[in-house]
């Protein structure tokens, strides 16, 4: 999925049918707490993480904290 090409098309929450909005979200991984801006449903608070982010920066962060 290439989000860049579709960035003008709004994402809708499948459950609530509400348009997702950018919102600061608290992310926790291995006791590390971080705040990031992510698309979120204003109704049910479900967060959307696209493939590019999951396999890109988010994976980089995970690897940066990777243990041995």
């Amino acid at each position: 999925m290439n989000v860049d090409n579709k960035k003008d098309i709004p994402w809708l929450c499948d459950k609530c049918k509400k348009e997702l909005v950018l919102h600061k979200v608290k992310v926790r991984y291995l006791e590390g707490n971080f705040e990031v801006e992510l698309l979120k449903c204003p109704e049910c608070n479900m967060v959307f993480i696209d493939e590019e982010l999951a396999t890109g920066k988010m994976l980089e962060v995970e690897k940066g904290l990777e243990d041995k």
């Binding site: 590390g32 980089e60 904290l65 243990d67 041995k68």
Partner: protein, 448 residues
């Protein structure tokens, strides 16, 4: 009276004649001991574990990673065929190349028994052959240049360049820091040559400690070495040798010093004293500090800022050889534990453990990458994720320890899992402890 419980049966060596003998590890109360018997030289008992953390709960089951390309055949049996042989169960994580036998100190404890006058330095050709042997047997593992004191060589930058040119991405120098503290230009040259990190002998924050262990007051020069490496972007790992009655009460202050100098100081790596090479005496149990005791002292001396629960057994080497904890340092120098303990419940693969350990050391013991934020010309384009990456890179800090084995407490089960290998002058890879092991008279089994 506490009940005796056998934990494991293993093999060891007789400290007098070095023949292989049966041994067993047993617990009594919160202590574990090794018992062994040589038909010629009698019984030996040594403490191996002491404290609240039980030895049984510490063990991490791993699927062994037998050596795919053994360099030496199995002939006389472990530990007499090292090279590595097909009986070895772990790959190389760090390969040590000794670039000199000379040293500008004469410490009371020295695994290599180095001194000022010792031997001729290996040639650059010899060192190249050693690098190539590592690459052939173990691929691009981490390299530690050791000795002797590597910085007595003026051509150390050349040796580092040679390693980086051959493809080794992480090169660390094991050093007492004297030259690094006194000669800033040399530090600059080492950095330019590609040095990632120094493994700095740092036994404490008082000169009394250095007088006892190293024969000299060295605190000032150690601090200067830290400042020079910080200035030129070389990661620093502080390495205290812990000797009961000398510096085991200084653990908290060493950690505070390290945090004061983070992120240039990337962590503290404690080494409970081992009795091989040059040592002042044959040890009694009181002359030893075991890993659980170190963990408890860390918690006690940091006032609970570092909890024993944040420290865990290794996924690479044998669980009884080390512990480590990973942290993020916040703006107030508070440590946030990011150690993942959940991984220890299932059966893991030792091979994966070695890969992770290599990456972890390379990432967490190098100087934090500079400019990862500066590269982004447009501040508007710096995403929250970039900021997190920058924070992780800059603020990771590790606390770890490795308990080396000597002839008194050698457990061949642990030795077979070793991932720290010394490259012998002829290019064989020999587990660090057995390379340095000496009998009760100070005679080496492998080191010449």
């Amino acid at each position: 009276m506490d009940r005796i419980k056998v934990v494991s049966k293993t093999e060891s060596l007789c400290p007098v004649c070095m023949r292989k003998i049966d041994a067993q590890i047993f617990t009594r109360g919160n202590k574990a001991y090794m018992d062994k018997y040589c038909p010629e030289h009698g019984s030996f008992r040594v403490i191996t574990w002491k404290g609240r953390i039980s030895i049984q709960n510490w063990v991490r089951d791993k699927e062994r990673a037998y050596i795919k390309k053994p360099s030496t055949p199995v002939d006389k049996g472990c530990p007499f065929d090292c090279g590595l042989c097909s009986g070895h169960r772990q790959h190389t994580c760090t390969a040590l190349i000794e670039v000199t036998e000379r040293c500008n100190l004469h410490c009371a404890y020295c695994f290599a028994n180095s001194n000022a006058a010792k031997g001729e330095d290996p040639s650059l050709e010899r060192i190249k052959l050693q690098y190539e042997s590592v690459m052939k047997a173990s691929g691009k593992c981490n390299i530690q240049l050791s000795g002797g004191e590597p910085t007595v060589r003026d051509d150390l930058p050349e040796i580092i360049r040679m390693g980086t040119a051959l493809g080794f991405a992480f090169i660390q120098v094991n050093t007492n820091g004297i030259r690094l503290g006194e000669d800033e230009n040399y530090v600059k040259e080492l950095k330019a040559a590609g040095l990632s990190s120094i493994y700095l002998q740092f036994d404490g924050t008082s000169d009394l400690i250095y007088k006892k262990l190293r024969g000299k007051e060295l605190l000032k020069v150690k601090k200067a070495a830290v400042d020079n490496c910080k200035k030129h972007g070389i990661g620093i790992v502080l390495v205290p040798t812990l000797v009961p009655g000398v510096n085991t009460g200084n653990i908290g202050e060493i950690i505070d010093f390290a945090l004061e100098h983070a992120p240039a100081v990337r962590g503290v790596h404690f080494q409970p004293v081992s009795y091989f090479g040059r040592v002042p005496n044959i040890p009694s149990d009181e002359d030893r500090i075991t890993l659980p005791e170190v963990m408890e002292e860390i918690e006690r001396q940091t006032g609970g800022r570092i909890k024993t629960q944040s420290l865990k057994p290794p996924g690479c080497e044998n669980a009884l050889c080390s512990f480590h904890g990973s942290y993020l340092v916040d703006d107030r120098k508070k440590l946030i534990s990011v150690t993942n303990r959940s991984c220890c419940c299932s059966n893991e693969k030792a091979e994966e453990g070695a890969v992770k350990a290599k990456e972890y050391v390379s990432r967490n013991w190098s100087y934090p990458i500079e400019g990862s934020m500066k590269d982004k010309q447009d501040p508007g384009k710096i995403s929250d994720w970039d900021k997190i990456l920058y924070r992780i890179n800059k603020n990771t800090f590790s606390i770890s320890a490795m308990a080396f084995q000597d002839v008194w407490n050698l457990d061949l089960e642990r030795l077979r899992d070793c991932c720290i290998h010394v490259v012998s002058p002829d290019g064989r890879l020999i587990p660090f402890c057995i390379y340095n092991i000496t009998d009760s008279e100070g005679r080496y089994l492998y080191r010449r």
